[in-house]
Subunit: 185 residues, 2 copies
């Protein structure tokens, strides 16, 4: 996947990557150290600005890094990375450098200092937009300021967590475009 | 699906239904009238209490119904309902009774007045927990107070929206339970 060429995607298109509910890897940088965490509790909030909310538990090493740096990258892994996704969730950035430890490629992002993960098929660069619910729910509201993504295949297989160690894998894509009122698309 | 027996599931298990990111149908009741809307922007926030956030645009007829009644049911449809899911999103409860119009079965919920949709495989009964972000983002935070779900098949095929009229269908489920540290499960 690192070899696959990525292209810039309009930030309003964040939904195509996140709305189906994949597991994500959140990368961050603070005080010169990078980190990665696995997460699955996120949603789209708005197209313009492109807003996404994401729960980052305050037990994670990434919590303070992202709260302080006010930036991160939401990386969307494919099933090629299944075991790595679990292992990243099992370990803490307080003890290891996860890019090095898991052999992931640290790619410079376009608009944020936090590095993107080369092996993930989509990299959504984010700035912290609203921290009003961080204290109460650990809920961060980010603005997606840039997206780099592999265009072909358009929809590689993604992981969707169910709890209890089980992942749903993405299946085929079907269109019902002809049934939608134009303003609903 | 209406004929399939449903069982009570612990509310802390909401993630198995919602975390993989399916399209949902939100049913509500206010002033004696029921309504249904299609939605896809939701996430899990907490296990205990069982909290879920959900974006309900203020352009929807359901918005005021749910804000006023402070209740709803999050119903998870299977692919059998694909065309109905689109049609519900195309129409407004201001003009039609969606249960009648789409031939859906209005099932009494256990703990809320809002009816559940019989044809959906899981019904998560919700009470409004926090409306702090409703004005700013149309974001409702609900507590899941009861879940009724079809137990077999455990994972029927669900719909996951990508935008542009395209749905990703759920694929197979794989376990990596052996790789998880016990406290991560």
């Amino acid at each position: 996947m690192t070899g696959a060429r990525k292209q810039t995607v309009p930030v309003s298109g964040a939904r195509q990557f996140l709305e189906p509910g994949p597991v994500i890897l959140i990368s961050s940088l603070h005080d010169g150290r990078a980190n990665i965490m696995t997460a699955g509790w996120h949603q789209i909030l708005e197209f313009t600005p492109s807003l996404v909310s994401c729960l980052i538990s305050n037990g994670n090493h990434s919590f303070e890094m992202i709260r302080e740096s006010r930036e991160c990258v939401i990386n969307v892994p494919t099933t090629v990375l299944t075991d790595t996704v679990v292992s990243i969730g099992n370990t803490s950035g307080a003890n290891i450098d996860k890019f090095d430890h898991f052999g992931l490629t640290r790619v410079d992002s376009s608009l944020v200092a936090a590095p993107s993960i080369g092996e993930c098929y989509a990299n959504l660069e984010c700035r912290l937009h609203d921290d009003a619910l961080v204290d109460r729910y650990n809920l961060f509201i980010f603005e997606v300021v840039g997206i780099q993504a592999v265009i072909s295949p358009r929809y590689p297989q993604t992981l969707h967590y169910r709890g209890d160690g089980e992942f749903m894998l993405s299946g085929k894509t079907v269109s019902r475009r002809h049934l939608f009122r134009p303003e609903m698309l």
